[in-house]
Amino acid sequence: MSSMSKVSILKPRGSYSEIPLYSGRVSAGFPGVVDEHMEDSLSLDQLLIQHPATTFFARVEGDSMIEAGIFQNDILVVDRSVSAKDNDIVVALLDNEFTVKRLKSQGTLKLKAENPNYPDIEVTGEHELVIWGVVTGLARSLR
């Protein structure tokens, strides 16, 4: 007999982490009024994700971005529908390999690590660079 093994949900608005938000005062005896004043509950999805269909998550390995506040095991929110600007933190495909770096497009094209121990990567004609997506958010669990 079969059973469910995995569930994937794509919903335009957040659905998992919701904290109900009430506006206005709750007056006893008028539940109907209270209901009408109930607003959409807050959702982290809504806060961090603008375009659910083009947003993917990635986990950080290593310490190359620590000075941008991005640490090992952090979860990056990567939006592929946003066009990258100078200074954006991007997920790039450099010679068909994924990397997360800061994009420097003023002057010479560079991928900059946010850690002095890592040299900048100058993107020359020998490299093939594709900007896969822009890092638009960060999620970290503290315990």
Binding site: S3, K6, S8, I9, L10, A53, F56, A58, V60, N96
Partner: protein
Amino acid sequence: MIQTNDVTYALCDVNSFYVACERLFRPDLRNKPVVVLSNNDGCAIAMCDVSKSLGIKIGTPYFQIKHLIKQYDIEWFSSNYGLYGDISQRFNWVLQQFTDKVAPYSVDESFLIFQGIADNLETHCQRLKQTVWDWLSLPICIGLGPTKTLAKVANHYAKKHKQSTNGVVDLRNQTHRQWALERLAVEDIWGVGRRLSQKLKLQGIHTAWDLHNCDYKTLQRMFSVNMERTILELRGQPCFAFSEQPEPKQSILNSRSFGNPISSKQDLKEALAYHTTRCCEKLRKQSSLANSIQFFLRTRHGDHPSATLSLTEPSDDTSLFLSAIEQGLNRVYDSSEVYKKAGVMLFGLEPSKGYQSDIFNQTQQRPELMQSLDSINAKYGKDAIKFGSLGFDKRWAMRANARSPHYTTQWTDIIRLK
């Protein structure tokens, strides 16, 4: 200037969809041949153009291509329907950014309606194609025509001549249409198929153009109303409704708009159950098993909540899909919303012949079984389901030797970046 309120149908179709999904998080595979195998790693179900040119076809058994995989260093995958379903939903969302009229036809193709764009429609479609590539790394082809059947024909050419057409073919123009239909065999027309085409050939009808020129009343008498409708569609007269249930291919779909918008969960559940039941009937009728089910809703605000659920092994058992739907609905349902439409799609199909079926599969209507399933789930929760499938987990794992990570549906499987 073409009349701007003309309706144009478009068929958008992802080239080697499962392969594109596998490549999405594996850029190293961009220029490497890739093959995806069926549920039990039995045979090839999707392959890139290079693998195709090596003679690997849909349905070719794995043992027959083993040597090619080795010789040409082909990357092969067990099917990962969780991933494919998720990407399929994203694909349709992107299409909706270009027109609000999108009808999914299968897991990797959707019909669109464009209205009032007229002259620059090809440019619009090129932009759409580029966007789907930029945002989801999915290569697509688009066929345009005044009817769904002609959009299908146009898509056929776009796919066949990807380079020279740049993936977009427009058959709204009469001259182009004749050129295309003269070169298209009848069996390649949407909904005609091999059996019908043999009969047509006996009548001297070999090409789509031959059929186009037939007296449709005569052929309606000889064949069916559908044949008449196909002929009229070839002539540019729309006969198939936009979201009409097409011939099942690699997926089976059922959907309908509600007469009156509904918001109660119970009503939604019943609507989805209805569609699921119909889909499963069709599934059994064509002697197939399905591995995954996707449902989609449309809200008053035009949002499209949807969910994809996969079984641990393919089945044609309605009750299994019903409980899958219920599980998905619990996650997606929003009591403050009003819903206008619901639909269900089964995909990951394979022939049931040759698949070892268990004793539960001997009857189709088994309310007792469903009841006991429900009560077990209610009593023991998730673990009960797990317990029930324990005996199969091992076999299933063996049959999915090379499944890619669940990149988009499990936190443990998301890509890692340095």
